[in-house]
Symmetry: C2
Subunit: 455 residues, 2 copies
């Protein structure tokens, strides 16, 4: 039972939208970070739910592994077909189907990217807030339960997906959730699918929540002598009920990387970058109250602005952080850690990590979504030095142990994929077996993204 | 295989905390609304997770039905043991285990009620916002995915539960989620358990999110000639980004009931009651901007206040709505409908329902959480007239059809239980079968709350 047995069915269904050779296979073999390539045997480009359903029925009948593919921007190799078989590429299912401004929601196909969605929304006065940095597909973001810089204010994909259409392993098509803002009608299958990384089904349609574009935005940056002052500032701000739209942390090593990459002129100290959304008088008041908290905690004078060009410059820099860090060690690839802890343990988690990094032979600048307790050490490895990768993996493993000891999680937003699979037993215990039970119930022959997420 | 076979084990485990006769059985037979009594064969009062685990292991071995019981305030008979067997009453597992103000979370046992929690939190400056009206147990609220008047601002149980400890059908104990604010580490078992109505496991511990007590609150009331003006007001307010903490609708029949019950002196028109939380200058600004939107939509001058006593009087009235309505037809019981629709369809849904009610022989005043698109017709039936109940059920069925046609759900917050079971196939289609598959995978012998929620 393998792909050749299903080829006739798939070819008659898709014609030249089923590709079995050439650069398409190589393009779907790669990952965004350090994982080795793994090519599929074929790539399908469906255009309708009906086609996806028939693809799954054929692969189910013939035991062919199926891995979904959005923009290929996942950081833990979720979309790499490590058991070969078929990749289902959603790039031809990328339409915005309907926007309903009066309900502040939109229905769309999974191949649409978040930047494409926000471009189309520009005239409506609404926007989709989840921002993982990369221009990911919305289907991929759903499947990793993605979040990012604005999650502290607007939530993650968990909070911003209302309903899904999903094709199951055997080709059945189900709809989960409704456009109502809440429901108590049975098991929350939408939430079960979000973050399932294509192991329970393929998403073919989604309804997402939209938010009003803020009337005004203020943003600014400040530095601290130590991390503790920065984290105390964030905790006090949250407890004061000041609604931060973004609150990002960068350590001294990141400041150094920004300086090298873009001549940023930053002091080599821990920094906070923050943004407020609201009415004009409100975002000014928020920035001023935040400035007082910064001062109480020994930060540098909080420089803020509500002018769009200054704000854009700040976040452009933040969004280029990954590339600035990569450029600080030319030719390197990254192993990106992603732990998330209760915010009261964040200073401890970052400090212990910095101490561990201080004795390491590879660099690991730290960036974080500090309002969520989530941070990343970007561990830079020379692809020609296997000992670098081994050291990065050992550092990453110790970070996960630290996160679990402090009541947190191995992955705040990047997902499990291949990189975090080894930690699932430690994080979930018996609950990981329950995940395996659910997977077996919905995909008894194990064709959906095999080798990922479950035992 | 039934309870008598498990009795020895249960008695040696629990001693006199296992009750097999007397008023305890009758007390656990009743429901809050119109459903007939259904008594268990025994009631267990565990004090620890370990005891709950052993109870489940014994019941699993002997095929004994097990139904969880919190405060008994569910409205759809979720906690009624319709197949007899054992009720597990969590009233002795009602401790607040830990409050962590710095992380704004708390860990507690499921028998604690929401009012008890908020009383204990008073000195911390924090509160737990989910407010279904009744003084429900937090475990029960988790299991029905409860929400209520503050959901428009603070979310439902789905948004406010971070982690659970759950005893599975076979007695295994799992932990789902962490105290981190977000995670992408595998299937969201916390969300799967929330709203599962005790059919997948029994919750023995929960970690919930807390929120800062608002520095200031403003609240007020206004009336409209027609429902449309009220709903337009709500939509425009949401779209303006004015953060309402509560926004409640009451129709003319409810105003009449308030007048009869408490001499409220309300005009017999549709009303909106609204509340804003924030800094003092902010809640005044919110109320003033809201007042302008009310005026634009033809509402009566918006009377608002930031004085606690006036605000309390307003919400006391709202919270007594159910009793005021029951009192308007002495001796009656209620069938409470609970549909939720996209907010743009709310006026249509309420108006069609009012037209339907106008030709009915039983009254059905309408109250709603208008910011969520959720409303309840309180259908008053004379318990001695079976034709009343039949008429109420027919009205309720037409309301559900209407909700589904408009893109909504049969139950916004009360859950499925017995009252909405008949509509699950229509609402979910094939996804309901998937719920059955998941149930069978986690509870293969079907002992957890049998007869509820799944096919």
């Amino acid at each position: 039972m393998s792909l050749p047995d299903a080829l006739d069915t798939l070819t008659s269904l898709l014609g030249n939208r089923l590709v079995t050779s050439g650069s398409d296979l190589a393009n779907h073999a790669r990952s965004e970070s350090h994982f080795p390539d793994a090519a599929p045997e074929a790539v399908a480009y469906p255009e309708t739910t009906e086609e996806v359903s028939r693809i799954m029925a054929a692969c189910h009948a013939h035991g062919v592994p199926v891995t979904g593919w959005g923009a290929g921007s996942s950081l833990e190799a979720q979309s790499q077909p490590i058991h070969g078989g078929l990749v289902v590429d959603f790039s031809r299912m990328n339409r915005l189907l309907e926007v309903r401004p009066e309900d502040m929601d939109a229905t769309l196909q999974p191949g649409l990217t978040r930047e494409e969605l926000n471009t189309e929304l520009r005239a409506t006065g609404l926007f989709f807030p989840v921002d993982p940095g990369a221009n990911a597909s919305l289907g991929g973001m759903a499947m990793t339960r993605a979040s990012g810089t604005t999650t502290v204010r607007y939530g993650s994909m968990r909070d911003n997906v209302l309903a899904l259409e999903v094709v199951l392993a055997d080709g059945r098509v189900i709809r989960t959730g409704t456009r109502a803002r809440k429901s108590s009608a049975g098991y929350d299958l939408t939430a079960l699918m979000l973050g399932s990384e294509g192991t329970l089904g393929l998403v073919t349609e989604m309804t997402v929540r939209l938010h009003p574009q803020p009337e005004a935005i203020s943003a600014g940056i400040t530095s601290f002598e130590s991390l503790t002052g920065a984290v105390e500032t964030v905790m006090e701000t949250i407890q004061s009920g000041i609604p931060m739209a973004r609150i990002e942390f960068a350590d001294a090593a990141v400041a150094r990387a920004f300086n090298g990459y873009a001549n940023a002129g930053m002091e080599e100290k821990p920094h906070l970058m923050v943004e407020f959304h609201g009415a004009p008088e409100q975002v000014r008041a928020d920035a001023e109250r935040f400035a007082e908290i910064v001062q109480d905690n020994g930060g540098s004078p909080f420089r803020w602005s509500d002018r769009p060009e200054e704000r854009r410059a700040l976040w452009d820099m933040r969004h280029k952080g990954y590339y600035a860090i990569l450029a600080s060690r030319p030719g390197s690839r990254a192993l990106i850690t992603d732990i998330c802890v209760p915010i009261s343990r964040l200073a401890e988690a970052v400090e212990e990590t910095q101490e561990d990094l201080a004795t390491a032979s590879i660099p690991g600048p730290i960036l974080g979504h500090v309002g969520d307790g989530n941070f990343h050490a970007i561990l830079l490895v020379d692809p020609d030095r296997p000992e670098d990768l081994a050291e990065a993996q050992a550092l990453s493993g110790r970070m996960v142990e630290r996160a679990l000891r402090l009541g947190g999680t191995s992955t705040g937003e990047h997902g499990v994929g291949l990189g975090k699979l080894a930690y699932m037993q430690a994080e979930h215990g018996e609950a990981w077996d329950v995940m395996g039970t659910l997977k077996a119930a919905l995909d008894p022959t194990g064709i959906l993204n095999p080798g990922k997420l479950v035992p």
